[in-house]
Symmetry: C2
Subunit: 686 residues, 2 copies
């Protein structure tokens, strides 16, 4: 991908003396180190450079070409580029797959030409590439925007939308003072996609974090693998979650939006931050790129000039699972030196009374020193009033003091526009995350504290290749629960004791063996909704009840299917464990809360399969239900390891048998802390 | 309160030629219509005005006094004010209850002086009052801030924190172009509190909405009554929710933060918006003050220049319960006139292809016209790029066109700082809510769509005065479930059939009458945790089991307490209905989801008692569980009216018997849609 990011020469096809063709040429020439060759048959010279009628006419080697010409001309120009030995072509023009079938055909034609020639295609329908510190502007965005971009950004953006790479950059730069390292607009991504660009950026030394806006993830599996192996923080905003959003996504980038819940769940599993809005995406990405290492703990000291803001900080921090640090006696004594006697300091440290005595600057200096040394403090959140007194926040010094103790700081700055802007520019240069709103600062602080789980660095295991037993029913369609659980047991998953019974005497003997009470179920071929069909008889607590229900159920089934007798277990609660082979993400496992409430408010976690116990254990912790696992209200604590094993084995089973399209173990009962499959269905591809 | 908001004369006690005393005087004199009398024994003249040694020396009547002098001097000055006939005193100095016991004593002394004299006190420890359109600045804030406040705000603020009334106003004005009508900083609110100020603002013609930041609500009941009767939108940010936040709130404003969940629940019940952060408070308040009438429905048309933003809008709108409008064939035809043939319009209306043909301005004009006429469209959300082309959004015209059709518009503007600022100022003047971020625009749009429920306008009923039956046990402490349910039944609440049984034969006879299976419970005096003590025997499905358990339980209880036999009911799901007499909010009822999951993730709604069925029915709808009430997965739909009646009767019982401090009906079983109290405890004040 270097020929896109760092080409020695570029043919600018569609350069012109006006409009976008002019902007593109002007921007490209901003970098003196790249040879630029304008191509336009109508001109002999453009912007003081010789202009060529076609790519073939350029008398020098060409590494990369940017195309900004009507879509219908691109195949011909691509052929020329191929003949010329161009390595990468960035098609910025629109008019391809996003416009319907004809455009899609044209796009496919372009891809075919490029593939044949071993040439990579970026776009089409995109704004190209901006590398601010590298001073490379391979884009037709309004040139004035290139002038306002602050140069010291460490966050790189990958966006699947044109707007986000021009207007949005201008908004970030001029309204919020936010610097971006690289912005990569990948458009229809007919060849180069988010995975290619991400792979490059993960290796790019000047990129410290990557934020991606994506409407589709066709190579979802690859993306997740890259995210899992990433040594830099990633944040994703995935749009098209809603039904109408997905419809719009379809028409916009001609690509299918994936299963929203699975996508979000896997992003979470891979330690990727997720955002709700464009600005939040950048907020989170920027904070993570500035503070890539999670702090030691989640204890925050809040230094504030406003008691009210201090109180609200407590609320917001605790909402996010962080805590207010309990300041040590030494720190309190130290702070006490600048506080009036009538107001002993606490956390939040309301500095106002001390500021009235000593002035804002010296007070804040003292307070930062004091909390920096406190072993109970992991992070410092400073509220600063920037009303022309921004010099009083000695950013560089505070950063140094805190960094020495392995602590980071976040700043919420409030005040007049100009001083705040100046302050934010300083903060950016110092690598200190500064925010205009308290809640934003707290959200980002929480994201930084989240950190990256150790288990993500461990290699993902291979699927263990347990063969299928020989006496299986035909491998296609839906298996009934008896057959399904037989296979699960063969793979080491714990499932309830049960027996198929054809005679009443056999049923009675089986019940004595299984222990009372028992459950009698009617298995009808192809039916999975047994309860709804009245095929489940519960609470059979003795021979009389069993005989009665055996007779009734046999009659109801009219000689079809089979009867299954199970030990009846009374679970403390129920879980759902599932497996799905997803078109985008490949073999995946799911863990969810069971029961009706969970159906109303789904509580689920996902992982890719195969997986190892640490990854499965992390799934448990991602459920809201996790609070119950420690043993809520006298219940036995969950045997987490057993559940993790169950999930891993299910993942192995699925991943090593590609003909399995899905498995539902619903419910997995938790009885005295032990997970046990009560019902299950395996669905094979037909 | 008029003497605070619209005084004819003010004594400025503590006026001085420097620092805050100077700022205060300077700000006060900005309004030419108010007679200002500086008071300071050290000066004969200040700011060109005669200065008096004391309030008593002012040779004119004085309506209001502002005190900015060391706290210890205030009682003496208050006595002078009282003698002078001053009607209201605003103490802006700090050093009172917020500083500890001594300050609290001083504050109480001040209140006593004022009460005796029939004088009202505002503050202390506050920034006073700003009325931007009225050009009144009764505050010591930095005078430069008064110069930057835009004059056309319709939202008034009430804040219990100094910071929020100076730095925050400056931030809103200069960074976000947000205009405020009045800002009332009420500090320690020793006399004048949020209720007094709210009452004034609800009657104030230039205030169209009120946003309040509160750390405590000591007159919670009064506040909720005002909110319920309010004809203007209200939004509240209540801080001190978390344990540490409440601790900080205590030391900050010397006031107790209320029960967070009850407070939030009642605010919701009264139709008050709630915010998470200061800026969100203003966002929501401003949008509601600009668009006080909820639209006809929740169908939104999105006009955008960016496909990506259109897709994300769908996600965000649907997350908030709004829908993308299905545009009518006429509208699609109309829009089609400006769209290229290859790109038929839809909703979101991605205007880019049309803009390329006709330019941004004419395209947007055409689109606004088209959607304005569409009966399927209730609201319009416009994404505008403001890169120096802000003139292309014809705000005034769009507003008029849409208002004619009874529709409002919201705008998300992205672009360079200066054009965006200019645009926001125009939008503000036109009363159009404009936002710099998409998610903010959607959050506010959803708040506006929420509207105000009709039942809030109906008067709240009186408690019906059903007397207590004569054969009650002593009215104190905790009643057991049998006594509790007897009283509930006497008040018309449905409770499970049951009988106290002392002999085995009596138990058998009772069971036959109640129907099998039955439950046997041991009632021990003062014990409410029967299950934990093993005093509940379930599933007694015949005489044998009952005899056995009767004997065992009698033995376990060793002759103490009594045995209670109940019909055993198998509920579809369980609810909790409760009553509490709260110190701040008075008699209140609660409805919540039952079961362990609900304990882990509480799902509750609150109301004040007494209440009527419409208010109770609205409580049902506020539960997340509400989705289940329609009859989820084949369950019978809930008899909502019966549950609402149950809640109302419980409210009546509590509200008409002040000796009841709380009632827990847990669970209320829902069996075939009918609510039924299975267990209950009434707690009387001791």
């Amino acid at each position: 991908m270097e020929f896109f990011f760092d080409p020695s020469s570029i043919a600018v096809v569609g350069a012109s003396p006006e409009r976008t063709g002019n902007s593109l040429l002007f921007n490209a020439t901003l970098n003196q180190d790249v040879a630029i060759y304008p191509v336009n048959p109508k001109h002999a010279e453009l912007a003081g450079l010789p202009c060529y009628p076609s790519v073939s006419d350029i008398p020098h080697p060409v590494e990369m070409a940017i195309l900004l010409v009507p879509a219908r001309f691109t195949p011909r120009i691509l052929e020329e580029c191929a003949a010329k030995g161009v390595r990468g072509v960035m098609i910025q023009s629109a008019g391809f797959a996003e416009t319907g079938d004809e455009g899609r055909g044209l796009q496919e034609q372009c891809v075919a030409i490029a593939r044949r020639a071993g040439m990579r295609l970026w776009g089409p329908n995109c704004m190209g590439l901006v590398d601010v510190p590298g001073h490379k502007f391979f884009t037709f965005m309004t040139p004035s925007i290139t002038q306002v971009l602050p140069p010291n950004g460490t966050l790189s953006l990958v966006v699947q939308s044109g707007m986000l790479s021009a207007g949005f950059l201008a908004d970030l730069a001029t309204r919020r003072g936010i610097a971006v390292n690289k912005a990569c607009s990948i458009g229809n991504k007919c060849d180069v996609d988010e995975c290619d660009v991400l792979e490059y950026l993960l290796a790019d030394p000047s990129t410290k974090g990557v934020a991606l806006y994506l409407e589709s993830m066709p190579r979802g599996r690859r993306f997740m693998e890259l995210a899992e192996g990433a040594s830099k923080p990633l944040v994703v905003l995935k749009s098209g979650r809603s039904a109408s959003g997905a419809k719009a996504a379809l028409s916009h980038t001609a690509s299918l939006a994936g299963n929203a819940r699975l996508t979000q769940g896997l992003l979470q599993a891979m330690g990727v931050g997720t955002a709700r809005d464009f600005h939040q995406l950048v907020d989170l990405g920027r904070a993570l790129s500035m503070v890539p290492e999670a702090p030691q703990g989640k204890q925050v000291a809040v230094l504030t000039f406003s008691g009210g803001a201090g109180i609200l900080s407590c609320d917001l921090l605790e909402d996010k699972g962080l805590s207010m640090a309990e300041l040590s006696p030494e720190t309190l004594r130290d702070l006490g030196q600048v506080f009036p006697a009538w107001m002993p300091p606490g956390n939040p440290v309301d500095l106002w009374p001390a500021m009235e005595l000593h002035g804002p600057g010296p007070t804040l200096d003292h307070a930062v020193q004091a909390v920096s040394r406190d072993p109970n403090v992991d992070m410092v959140l400073i509220h600063a009033f920037l009303g022309g007194t921004q010099g009083e926040v000695n950013l560089a010094q505070y950063r140094q003091i805190l960094a020495y103790q392995g602590k980071s700081m976040f700043i919420w700055g409030l005040g007049l526009d100009q001083p705040v802007k100046q302050f934010e520019a300083q903060a950016q240069a110092q690598g200190v995350p500064a925010f205009g709103e308290l809640a934003r600062a707290v959200d980002c602080l929480a994201a930084v504290c989240q950190g990256r789980a150790d288990h993500l660095s461990a290699p993902r295991p291979e699927a263990s290749g347990n063969p299928l037993p020989s006496d299986l029913p035909p491998i296609r369609g839906v298996w009934d629960e008896y057959q399904s659980k037989r296979l699960l047991r063969a793979w080491g998953l714990p499932a309830v004791a049960e027996e198929v019974v054809s005679e009443q005497d056999q049923a009675l003997a089986a019940a004595e063996k299984l222990g009372w009470p028992v459950v009698l179920k009617g298995l009808m071929p192809g039916e999975v909704h047994k309860s709804e069909l009245g095929l489940v008889r519960l609470n059979l607590d003795g021979p009389a009840r069993l005989e009665q229900e055996f007779a009734r159920l046999s009659e109801a089934m009219g000689g079809q299917g089979a009867l299954l007798l199970q030990a009846q277990r009374k679970p403390d609660y129920e879980l759902i464990v599932g497996y799905v082979k997803d078109a985008q993400f490949g073999p995946c496992v799911m863990l969810g809360a069971g029961g009706v409430t969970a159906e109303l408010e789904p509580d689920v976690a996902f992982e890719m399969a195969p997986l190892d116990p640490p990854r499965a254990l992390a799934m448990l912790e991602r459920l809201r239900l996790a609070k119950r696992f420690a043993g809520f209200r006298g219940e036995a604590p969950l045997n987490r390891r057993a559940l993790a094993e169950l999930i891993c084995r299910l993942g192995d089973l699925g991943a090593s048998h590609p003909a399995i399209s899905q498995v539902d173990i619903n419910p997995v009962a938790v009885c005295q802390g032990e997970p046990l499959a009560l019902d299950a269905n395996i669905v094979w591809e037909t």
